[in-house]
């Protein structure tokens, strides 16, 4: 007498017959399936950073791909690896997504060597977003240090497209030196068309720099903050959070109206691998966008 245990082919599940929709987190799907995407243009920004415009090849997959400001994707070079990169294009741009990448490791180094037309994989979007919907009717402070401007680009596009929803919008951007300022070619547009107040500062001025010199906190002297009517988004190196968020909370801005984006080395983006786990918090699922109250209670976050 022999016995055959029944087979279960999970490919036969209805949800498995479609490309994954990462916005439907509870559904069983091909979570490892990346959307094949073409690098349609590469914009060199500095010696270390390039902006990649990436277009999902399949029209249906492209149409279905929707994200919110602050979310990230896992960018994959098959055979090389996968890295989390925050999306820095407009949520309404259905043609391509923009990913600004600094050359720091194996995958990003290889990415920098790619030519226009190369095919990469993306999975996502993943993670939490800046709650633009809660900020309606408020002033918004967007504060970036260094590479922190990258995740702010998406909310900046959002404010342009929903300008009347918000009151005053101020961008404060500090970089180490003028050569490291990203997206300066867009600043005029942000000022004139988006109606943003745009303040920049560098720590070390070069020869041709006529702007402000100092730490980002210097910029607070030039803005009046109404703590009862303001939201803040702060992105940059963790050390900056303490000073900037500390200053804002001294002014009376509630910590739950300050949002930061944390960086960890996720391997999955889906709350599984634990590489970005701190206790019960997963930077990939519960973050990367956190309010500052949560961050303060998150051991080792910054």
């Amino acid at each position: 007498m022999s016995l055959q245990i029944p087979h279960h082919d999970i490919n036969l599940e209805p949800s498995m017959s479609k490309p994954p929709d990462f916005n439907r987190q509870s559904v069983l799907m091909h979570t490892e399936r990346g959307f094949k995407s073409e690098v349609i243009s590469i914009v060199p920004l500095t010696t270390q950073e390039k902006l990649f415009h990436i277009r999902i090849c399949d029209p249906c997959e492209r149409e279905n791909f929707t994200f919110l400001p602050g979310q990230f994707v896992m960018l994959e070079l098959p055979g090389c690896g996968e890295v989390p990169i925050s999306i820095s294009s407009s949520t309404s741009n259905k043609e391509f997504i923009a990913l600004c990448v600094r050359k720091v490791g194996k995958v990003t180094g290889m990415l920098h060597r790619l030519k226009q037309g190369a095919i990469v994989g993306i999975r996502g979007p993943f993670g939490t977003h800046f709650p633009m919907e809660k900020m309606v009717g408020y002033n918004i402070l967007l504060i970036a240090g260094g590479l922190g401007i990258v995740p702010l680009r998406s909310p900046i596009y959002w404010t342009k497209e929903h300008r009347s929803d918000y009151k005053d919008i101020t961008v404060m951007y500090g970089a180490k030196e003028p050569g490291q300022i990203l997206f300066d070619y867009q600043f005029e547009e942000w000022r004139k068309i988006y109606g943003l107040k745009m303040l920049t500062i560098v720590q070390e001025a070069g020869e041709n720099w006529n702007g402000r010199v100092g730490l980002i906190t210097e910029l607070f002297k030039e803005v009046t903050i109404d703590p009862d009517n303001t939201f803040a988004i702060v992105c940059g190196p963790p050390v900056m959070f303490k000073f900037v968020c500390g200053h804002l909370s001294n002014l009376g801005l509630p910590r739950q109206r300050m949002f930061v984006s944390l960086e960890r080395r996720m391997h999955c983006g889906m709350g599984k691998c634990c590489r970005c786990n701190v206790g019960s918090t997963f930077t990939c699922l519960d973050g990367p966008v956190f309010d500052y109250w949560t961050v303060m209670n998150l051991k080792e976050a910054i």
């Binding site: 090389c80 180094g109 190369a118």
Partner: protein, 250 residues
């Protein structure tokens, strides 16, 4: 050869042998199922083990063995001059290896014992990096062929290889081996760099540390454990010094 649209060059390589058993070279020439592919992606211009022809226009030099004579020292310096990348392969080249046993005795005594009155050019055992600058060290006694191929891929891609930082225990547990400590044996697995797939513990033999120390290995704790388990100082020292992998600890 293309990868994600990037054109990859086929590098010219040389494989050179110094004091050692030539087992690492054999590893490279081994494993027929991928040998054809290997010679497809690199151009071998100097490799005595497989070809008597030898050219000196190699870009990458793989150096096996430790440096124990003056003529070897001069030869490896010449190789260093030619090679853009010099890779030390195997325990002898990276650590001194078993050869280093010689360094524990006085040199004249060793020469007399082994060679009698026969004149011989031999000096203290040196790691390759003690003689010339080494770009990459591929550990193991012998090296593992899959790891060698992994390294070759990195060299072709121009990516810095990241060797496993953790110790042999991870791979040993992953193979569901019985811990040789439970069977009363000594093992240096907890402080030795992984990458060998725990081949010795797999065969019920404690690790001898041929791959050198794991990153930030906790020597003090393992020493305490070995002593608590009743291993003698002499036994511990013999094991630790075998490949000269943990120099300066005892």
């Amino acid at each position: 050869m293309k990868y994600l649209g990037i054109t990859l060059e086929r590098p010219k390589i040389g494989v050179f042998s110094f004091t050692g058993c030539e087992g690492c070279q054999l590893q490279i020439a081994n494993k027929e199922e991928t040998l054809k592919d290997l010679f497809g992606v690199v151009e071998v211009v100097n490799f005595r083990e497989i070809s008597s022809e030898g050219r000196d226009d190699y870009e990458i030099a793989f150096v096996e063995g430790s440096i124990t004579t003056e003529s070897e020292s001069a030869r490896v310096k010449k190789i260093r001059k030619q090679a853009g990348t010099l890779v030390a392969i195997g325990a002898c080249a990276c650590l001194g290896g078993v050869n280093n046993l010689k360094s524990r005795f006085s040199l004249p005594d060793v020469v007399k014992e082994v060679y009698g009155t026969h004149p011989i050019d031999t000096g203290p055992v040196r790691k390759v990096k003690d003689v010339v600058r080494v770009d990459i060290e591929l550990p193991g006694c012998p090296i593992s062929k899959p790891e060698f191929e992994w390294l070759v891929r990195h060299l072709i891609l121009g990516i810095e290889p990241q060797f496993l930082q953790y110790s042999v225990c991870v791979e040993c547990k992953q193979r569901l081996n019985s811990c040789v400590f439970d069977m009363g044996m000594m093992c240096l697995g907890p402080i030795t760099r992984a990458g060998c797939n725990a081949v010795c513990p797999r065969n019920r033999l404690g690790c001898w540390g041929c791959r050198g120390p794991a990153e930030e290995a906790n020597f003090e704790s393992l020493m305490e454990i070995l002593r608590e388990r009743g291993f003698s100082e002499e036994h511990i020292a013999e094991r630790m010094n075998f490949f000269n992998a943990f120099g300066g600890i005892l």
